[in-house]
């Protein structure tokens, strides 16, 4: 029997597993896939919109409504959790101050608030008077340099000052015979020093006027390539995350997974959890669909961090019934009728549906804890649409740290 089984391999699951393993617990992490962290921007959002754009995320965390997942945590716990992650991954991967949002250009030239970012991105943090030399790569279709520059040039920095931008292009195939490389393919080529040098020369020669050279987010799968490029280009360089496959996201995911593995966590991937057995009100085992047939994983405590609707942990059937698919946990709504807005960009209250917990992060029915040894973390929690307010990373890390702390402390 293991001390803890963690379900889910995203930011929340990896964080909980790492914290618990470091605390000396025997941990098994089980997930249907490899987790969604590598699809994200490779930054850590705490709170970006309330719905106004947030400049100081911890202040905004202190002011969330009582049903928000942050309300039970408070700004100090959120700051401590996010700071721990930053220091754990190191300044090669994550920099920034949880108290202050950066405002980084997107691949459409909008400004996106986020708390922590990779060192290869932060030179683009928008401030009044800054000008960008946007450089696209003809082979990469997901970074339209002219559109990015045009949108940035008509944007205003959070301090109210103007921004400027120019657009230019380089034409440099990464892999022979490939007309349409993904960002990842291009990044792999840039891990090769000789190709990176050719790329730097091409960018240096092509880039227009601007304080910061803004490039697509493909500057090497390994962290650190941006520094050398900046030296060769002779100006500060910043990369912008692209559509998946997201190279900065992959860097973050690889680094966190490597730490989890090195901490001795037993990792079962490609194995969906399909159900559980109970011993009284406690969870005794979870059932895993391993190759060959179901296996029961027994543990003293369980952390459930499976994500929400996007991962299938929450599901709506054809009659509109909303369900949590493994433990059948009570949700904040049972019927999807009326919860999907009429327009794509309209609010969709369906995505606010999720699990409510006690102060320790255990699911509750009314105010009664459902299973005293089951903790939830991340996207399955009820609360505002995380992609709308840009809070998913902070919620994931802070609730995972809380779950680990409660298990370590023996909260009952």
């Amino acid at each position: 029997m293991r001390d803890v089984v963690v379900i889910g391999a995203g930011l929340a699951g990896l964080t909980a597993a790492l914290r618990l393993a470091r605390a000396g617990r025997s941990v098994t992490l089980v997930a249907r896939g490899v987790g969604g962290l590598s699809l994200a921007q490779g930054t850590i959002d705490i709170l970006g919109y309330t719905p106004e754009r947030v400049l100081r995320p911890l202040d905004a965390v202190a002011a969330v409504p009582p049903e928000h997942p942050y309300a039970g945590l408070g700004p100090d716990a959120v700051a401590a959790a996010v700071t721990w992650l930053r220091d754990e991954l190191g300044s090669e991967l994550l920099v920034g101050d949880p108290a202050v949002n950066l405002h980084l250009p997107t691949a459409l030239g909008a400004l996106r608030p986020t708390a922590l970012a990779q060192p290869s991105m932060v030179a683009a943090d928008a401030r009044g008077g800054l000008t960008y030399a946007v450089v696209g790569v003809r082979q990469l279709k997901d970074f339209p340099a002219d559109l990015v520059a045009g949108n940035l040039a008509r944007s205003t920095a959070p301090d109210g000052g103007p921004l400027g931008a120019t657009a230019a292009w380089v034409d440099l195939p990464a892999r022979p015979g490939e007309a349409d490389p993904s960002g990842l393919t291009y990044a792999r080529s840039l891990d090769d020093a000789a190709f990176a040098d050719r790329f730097a020369v091409a960018v240096r020669d092509a880039a227009g006027a601007g304080d910061v050279v803004l490039l697509p987010g493909v500057l090497g799968v390994r962290p650190g390539a941006g520094r050398r490029l900046a030296e060769l280009i002779g100006r500060p360089v910043a990369e912008v995350p692209l559509l998946p496959p997201s190279v900065p996201g992959l860097r973050l995911a690889d680094a966190l997974r490597a730490r989890v593995a090195a901490a001795g966590v037993r990792i079962l991937l490609g194995s969906a959890v399909t159900g559980f057995t109970a011993d009284g009100d406690r969870v005794a085992t979870v059932t895993v669909a391993a190759a060959g047939g179901p296996r029961a994983l027994a543990a003293s405590d369980f952390v459930y961090a499976p994500g929400g609707f996007e991962s299938g942990a929450l599901a709506v059937d054809s009659r509109g019934a909303i369900a949590e698919t493994v433990f059948g946990l009570p949700l904040t709504a049972a019927d999807a009728a009326g919860l999907v807005g009429p327009r794509y960009w309209a609010p969709h209250p369906l995505f606010e549906v999720g699990v409510r917990t006690d102060a320790a992060g255990r699911p509750v029915a009314g105010d009664k804890v459902v299973h005293p040894n089951l903790y939830v973390a991340g996207g399955i929690l009820a609360g505002p649409e995380p992609w709308r307010e840009k809070s998913g990373d902070g919620i994931a890390v802070a609730t995972a740290v809380r779950a680990a702390a409660m298990i370590e402390g023996g909260a009952r």
Partner: protein, 424 residues
């Protein structure tokens, strides 16, 4: 290959459960990120592209020939967060493609593992010499299409069955009940040492080891799109493994072949045979089996020290079984043994993929990070659970590559000490 078989396979591709998972694909690209082949060559357009995407355009026709460059490592299915059976879809699509266009003689030859073993054993020294001969290998590449530098097994002069007959009967009375031992073709004919070690370790632990006559699991045939032959092979093997006893664990030293019994024959060949499902549910990789004993507090830990830094690679087809990395955990129980886990997705060989003339360079590129890790960390030995992967690693690095159970055998003091290759 007949038109009728192509139609049959196409029917399955169109109708079966695998295809239903297509609609679960959200085009997230996680499989593309993880695909070892797409990472090193533009010839393979990636698991999502040839799989859930191209599948929508097939309507029975093969639309993307690059599916033949899939190595069947299965990583895409393991990493998919939505439960799409990407690898299974692509295996079926490739079988259809091959049924339509004909299967090269080479692909029929290299899949006949048992036959190769039987044919080579009586003439092992001669056969081995021929495979070591540069001229012969060049001819083999020209005529058959097996790359001249690709790793080839070495036939053992004494097959496992001959050793089982020759050795004195075990003196210890079993204390734990019977297990059926599955050694695979390689354990029977090429890497007899690993199979012997496993039998002796299991007997040392008090198990009665039943070793039925056993043939090939059909995995190599399946990976080459020869589904009819693969089906016949695995059905025969299932009957053989069920013969000696019902309900007892089936313990395997053939890493990837164990996966064939556990899930691939069911999920890729589409066999719903109750006998197969019974065997699949009872099959355990030997490291998985021993680690289960350890978790239950039933594995003696009186291991002798082995002072060694040991690179260990988990084969893709073992990882896809969803059992974690039991060999690494098991080896770490041995005092002195410093296990360096490779995080390489695949060694490149993927069964028979890396033998092929047109795929050899890709397979070497896929394996390069692993070979570099071995070169940087080894002290004369590497551990790996699957035969063809061991041959690939040994050939590429020059370092002796053995099954993890051989270290457990040595640590229990059962008489054999693994001789390292010379450290370069």
């Amino acid at each position: 290959m007949s038109r009728a078989e192509a139609d049959r396979l196409r029917q399955r591709l169109n109708n079966e459960l695998q295809r239903l998972t297509l609609d679960e694909c959200v085009k997230c690209t996680i499989c593309e990120q993880s695909c070892p082949v797409a990472g090193v060559t533009a010839l393979f357009s990636g698991p999502k592209f040839v799989g859930p995407q191209a599948e929508r355009f097939r309507h029975g026709a093969s639309v993307d020939l690059s599916v033949d460059y899939c190595s069947s490592c299965g990583t895409c299915t393991v990493v998919c967060p939505q439960g799409v059976h990407v690898a299974e879809l692509n295996s079926l699509a490739r079988a259809v493609l091959k049924a339509e266009r004909g299967v090269p003689l080479r692909d029929r030859l290299i899949t006949r593992t048992t036959l190769m073993g039987r044919a080579m054993t009586p003439v092992a020294p001669v056969a081995n010499a021929v495979l070591d001969n540069r001229l012969a290998r060049t001819a083999l590449e020209k005529v058959v299409g097996v790359h001249a530098d690709a790793p080839m097994p070495t036939a053992h002069p004494e097959p496992l069955r001959a050793w089982l007959k020759r050795r004195p009967a075990p003196t210890r009375t079993p204390t734990r009940g019977p297990v059926v031992f599955f050694h695979g073709c390689a354990g029977g004919y090429f890497e007899v040492e690993a199979a012997r070690c496993a039998i002796e370790v299991l007997e040392h632990l008090g198990f009665e080891v039943l070793v039925p006559e056993q043939g090939c699991c059909g995995l190599a045939e399946q990976s080459n799109g020869l589904f009819e032959q693969a089906t016949a092979s695995v059905r025969k093997l299932v009957a053989q493994l069920r013969a000696p006893a019902t309900g007892v664990p089936i313990v395997s030293t053939a890493g990837s072949c164990g996966g064939m019994l556990k899930h691939e024959a069911h999920e890729i060949l589409g066999l719903d045979d109750p006998g197969l499902l019974d065997v699949g549910a009872r099959t355990r990789d030997i490291s998985e089996f021993l680690l289960e004993l350890h978790d239950a507090g039933e594995l003696p830990l009186d291991f002798a020290r082995i002072d060694l830094r040991l690179p260990y690679h988990q084969p893709c087809q073992v990882r896809s079984q969803g059992i974690g990395v039991p060999a690494a955990e098991l080896l770490r129980l041995i005092p002195g043994l410093e296990v360096v886990e490779s995080d390489a997705t695949c060694c490149g060989i993927a069964g028979t993929y890396g033998l092929k003339r047109e795929k050899y360079a890709i397979a070497q590129a896929v394996g390069r990070p692993l070979f570099e890790l071995v070169a940087a960390t080894h002290q004369g030995l590497v551990a790996c659970d699957t035969e063809t992967c061991r041959w690939q690693i040994a050939k590429a690095t020059g370092v002796r590559t053995v099954h993890p159970i051989q270290f457990v055998h040595q640590a229990y003091g059962l008489g054999r000490v693994i001789a390292p290759s010379a450290v370069r």
